[in-house]
Amino acid sequence: MAFNLVPGNEEGVKPSFIIRRKDLDSVVDGLVKDMRVFGVKSRHGKFVYDRINNSGELRLDFDITVMPPSRILLPAKEVLLQFELGTSKQPQPVLESEPFAIIGVHPYDLHAIELIDEAFMATNPDPHYIARRHNAFIIGVDNLNPSLRSFALDMGTHRAEKGFDLLLTDLGDEDYLITVGTEKGMALLKQYNHIRRASAGEVARRNQLLKEAEARYKLHLAISRELIPQLLEDNYENPFWRTRSEACLSCGSCVMVCPTCFCYDVLDEVQLNLKEGARIRQWDGCVLVDFARVASGENFRHDKASRFRHRINRKGRYVQERYGKLGCVGCGRCSIACLAEIASPLEAFNALAEAEKKKPLTGIKLEIRDFEGLHIPQMAQLIRVQQLTPNEKLFDFRFIDGHQLGHQPGQFVEVHVMGIGEAPISVASSPSRGEVFQLGVRSLGNVTTAMHNLKEGAIVGIRGPFGKGFPIPSIEGKDVLMMAGGIGLFPMRSLVQYILDHRRLFGRVILLYGCRSAEARILKDELADWARDPNLELLETIDKSCEGWNGHVGVITTLLPEVKMDITNAVAVVVGPPVLYKVALNELKNMGFKDEQIIVSLERRMKCGVGKCGHCQIEGIYVCQEGPVFTLSQLQKVKEAL
Amino acid sequence: MSIINKEVRRVEIDVHHITRVEGHGNISLKINDGKIEQLLWEVPESPRFFEAMIRGVSWQHVSHIVSRICGICSISHSMASILATEAAFGIQPSKQTQLLRKLLYNAELLESHVLHSMVLVAPDMLGTDSIFPLAETHTDVVLIALRLKKLAYNLAELLAGRKTHPISLVVGGFTKLPDTGELEKMRVKLEHAFVDINTVVEIVRSWKLPNFNRETEYVALKDPVEYAFISGQIASSDTGVTHVENYLEITNEYCVPHSTAKHTRNHRDSYMVGALSRFNLNHKQLHPRARKTAEELGLVAPCYNPFMITVAQVVEIVHALEDSMDIIDQLLKRGIEPEVVEEGKIPFRAGRGVGAVEAPRGILFHDYTYDADGKIKKANCVIPTNQNHANIQKDMEALVPLIMDRGGDVIRHILEILVRAYDPCISCSTH
């Protein structure tokens, strides 16, 4: 991701030049001839970024724009891939290839772009963003005329010393100071004659003007910004979230205008001939109603208060913890855009301000991963389909080029049925079972229903494997108590198979399986095998009695009294619907299991699989990255999880 | 009832919801022993009561609502509504607004006439039931029709945001203006469209239309300067010129039990409005190219054959295209003034105003009375097609005796194409 920066001199001062306004106009007009140029224009008395055709349209004296320039780097809608339905052809990525310029980026927006760079280029690097970013030429401009809603000063984003190719400062008298940020910026200046080196006095004038501008910031934080993350953590249950969000319309304006927001949705679109299709990425936001809703209808943030709380926490805490960069740059756009007048993070922080204590940031360790199959679906063929129940099927897949999925038990893949979309499915087989991997699927939403209509031989795209699987090293050598509810048995099966394939490495192996009814039992044949297998102790139950069932009746926790085991060297693994966690975890703790001995697999709405689109967030955690498997000790402080 | 043709024993025709017209209309014919026992053009369309529903509505919402009277001529309704409101409030639109409105109007005319001639009427001339089978047998023709419609949509979108139920067309002017670059591009497209238009003229030239003439009264707007679409006063072939505000003297609406749409009459039992009326009254003001097209197509004023209405529409298509290019040239020469309308600055007041435009199907009146708060106290709309219903009835009464002996199927077919020739907009006429 190297941008060739221009080093400062011994005092850290970057090369600076002076240009007259009319000569600056010539530079802009020259750029317009060479490439697309986005600049700040006046519209209806406000300011927006838009294509400019000549320097006359450019306004550098603006206070704030409606939409941030980061939204040019991440456009509202972009085509990620193009594909052909019904073939096994690898989808083709669509990448930006033409250079363009953005003129008029304020310092707080430069800081915001640094965050977007970190999010999209460091971990799971996004090829579309990278191509666009490398084609961008950024000309910043110092903000001497801050918006009335801006608190960039207190956020430390009122000035920026990097992140631009060139930075302009209006010194007055038709003179602009140009600070050079990169070699690319330097190369542009070399094409023009009408600039001269800036004197030390002129460079000092910039600092003086910036200092004078500080007095124009009218809004201030009530506490120092380093204390905001702790403040938010301590106030997670504060009734403030509910009262403040009463008037929220969930209209999405606050997230749409935010320079540090980048959550997105991914959809498939097709042509009417049903032959060509494309995968589209478009803006999404955590305050929108369906953001955390899964196909079964469960919505993990179904009320305004939880969505509002999440957004403020993301701006003030989670982003900082994950990326080490500010989640809110204090631009003020959201408070301008919010009709209900509740959006301002400043107002939220100040409202919660109280005596603070310092706390080291927990620091989530980022893993840099990049491999084929991360962003581009790999073609796999459906080898076999087994109908398990009216709503559930087991699919056997194999990659066309024969390579192994190479997953850990507990990981998931994103299955792409072209034209319909992608869905996250846990892998239901162990990696020790060869190049065929199995997926257990309940028909619920568009993609899973489409999967149920697939015939053997059909081709799908597979991305992944994603997420953290079951922590095998911490289970080896121990007794294992597995509790699976409903279709939680599918991901659990990957672990059961793994354990059976490596039986000597484990102590007692107990599997409890609970289901609504006898008909709802999936994997009936397998359960019959396991019932007979001396390597495994299986106990089953169904919630309500029914004809033909001679086994245990009652919720799954009613099986626990029958389990007599020594807890000291044991782990418990629980996988199932949200209600299972609510009842089972307490019982396990009563049995003596400590938080670090209890392992769960959580479901959330997952889309990109690479920790970017934002849908699977539980507070600051991305389920697709840090999960879906967690120990309870990891979730101790995460109140939203269970 | 007199015996017309003894040879014809018995004919019964019952066309329920005639196809390929806008809205719902029925034709019923009973002939017994050579006598016409019943011949009725019925309109069973469900009334929507626009004139009642806008009472109490504020002026800002009126044109939006009445636009919904019709999905094809929504621009005409919006325009007539706006002119009525501007007349009531004493607002005079700027020259630029007038030019843009004329241009926008041409877009609607183009779309409407292409739809009528190529999609609704052409199948009858080519012996099919719709354009869908033509997509395989005459793909070029279908694509031409859709291309021209798309061009008209694009022109309307450029000026008003959307063709069906325009958005930026408001009292006082426009809420958004095109820029010169977009107008230049559009002009090029319009010029290229003549290739397609010429094909349309050729197609229409090949049609064999029935030769049926019945002179009636012809009513249309007449403007001293140009072929009238959105300006001028009311002209009648029988009674001369009447001021738009006195439209009631011409329309004289009355109800008939078999029609939810009202009928009108002036000097005779019925009168005709629409492209043929406009042609008969104003043909001298057509663009030279349009007049030449009329000649090529055998359309000569005065023409009393209602089947030639479609031909008059094609002539108007040529005129509208030329006129559009002229208007764009004028706009480019003047430059676009940044006069975007601000709703809060419109001076509303109590008063009455009448707006009249030539919708594609004929002269359209909107008559509003406002109270001091700018809300509608009373409203009346007279729609082109409801002015044609009586004329359709009279045409049928004159036509059936001439074709009585041709058998039920042929008679039904000819009556249907007679109705279609009028390009009726029936849900509009009932409103």
């Binding site: 939409m67 | 509505v57 019709c70 999609v119 793909t139 945001g161 069906t164």
Partner: protein, 245 residues
């Protein structure tokens, strides 16, 4: 076998059906993908054997109820086309008057010849499977629904407010331009076209899921509207009680 598609209309301006034909190159693909067996405005001859029925218009007469129920019987899938069918549309504005009064205002002494009942959307009479909203519809959304039906997929229609699309379109907010707008409580899918054209949203696509009406009313009041003005604004498209989605 190609799905058999039919278009029907009740009380409407037929604008939504007309806009369904505002496709150019796609027409050939469309005719390859489906069989249009009934479309009165454009085609003679019709069939009563169809799989998918697109129905425009609201119900404003007794005689329409039976016909709608018949269509529901015959169609596997029924799609409400346009605001009149989805919500009732502007036809519902007459519902604020007693029917006799509406008849009298328009027809005077001859009112006795005609009949009407309060206007209502299709789902007040029959079960509706899908909605293509808007006044008029967005043709792209209709094509999206058709493609989804062909792929056996639930159409992905936005469940969020017009504000999202307005920001995507880089518009300056209507409230910052001295006017008011129902975008925050109206369902997106139109691309915020009215705002882009210089006007404001009047809610023709219906309320967004769990719309916060109280907050919207407070905001309108804050921006200077009286209770009467707020009511008029909200009622242009929301006059039919019982809007279910």
């Amino acid at each position: 076998m190609k799905p058999r598609v039919a278009f029907f209309e009740f009380t409407s301006c037929e604008g939504c059906q007309l806009d369904s034909l505002n496709i150019e190159a796609e027409i050939l693909d469309l005719l390859k993908a489906v069989d249009i067996v009934a479309f009165r405005e454009v085609k003679s001859g019709s069939s009563e054997d169809y799989d998918i029925a697109f129905v425009e218009g609201s119900i404003t007469r007794e005689s329409e109820i039976a016909r709608l129920k018949e269509i529901r019987e015959r169609a596997k899938i029924l799609v409400a086309l346009g605001a009149c069918a989805c919500l009732g549309g502007v036809n519902c504005l007459k519902n604020s008057l007693p029917m006799e009064e509406a008849l009298k205002i328009v027809y005077g002494r001859d009112a006795r010849y005609y009949d009407t009942i309060p206007a209502r959307p299709l789902h007040d009479v029959v079960r509706v499977d899908h909605y293509v909203r808007g006044c008029p519809i967005n043709t792209d959304e209709l094509l999206k629904v058709i493609k989804a039906l062909l792929l056996n997929k639930r159409p992905e229609i936005p469940n969020y407010a017009v504000c999202v699309e307005c920001k995507m379109a880089n518009n300056v907010c209507v409230y910052e331009r001295g006017m008011t707008c129902l975008g925050p409580i109206t369902r997106a899918g139109c691309g915020a076209i009215c705002i882009t054209s210089g006007r404001y949203c009047v809610g023709c696509r219906g309320l967004v899921y769990e719309a916060n009406l109280e907050s919207q009313k407070d905001i309108l009041k804050k921006y200077g509207l009286t209770a009467e003005q707020i009511s008029e604004k909200l009622n242009i498209y929301d006059s039919c009680a019982g809007v279910k989605r």
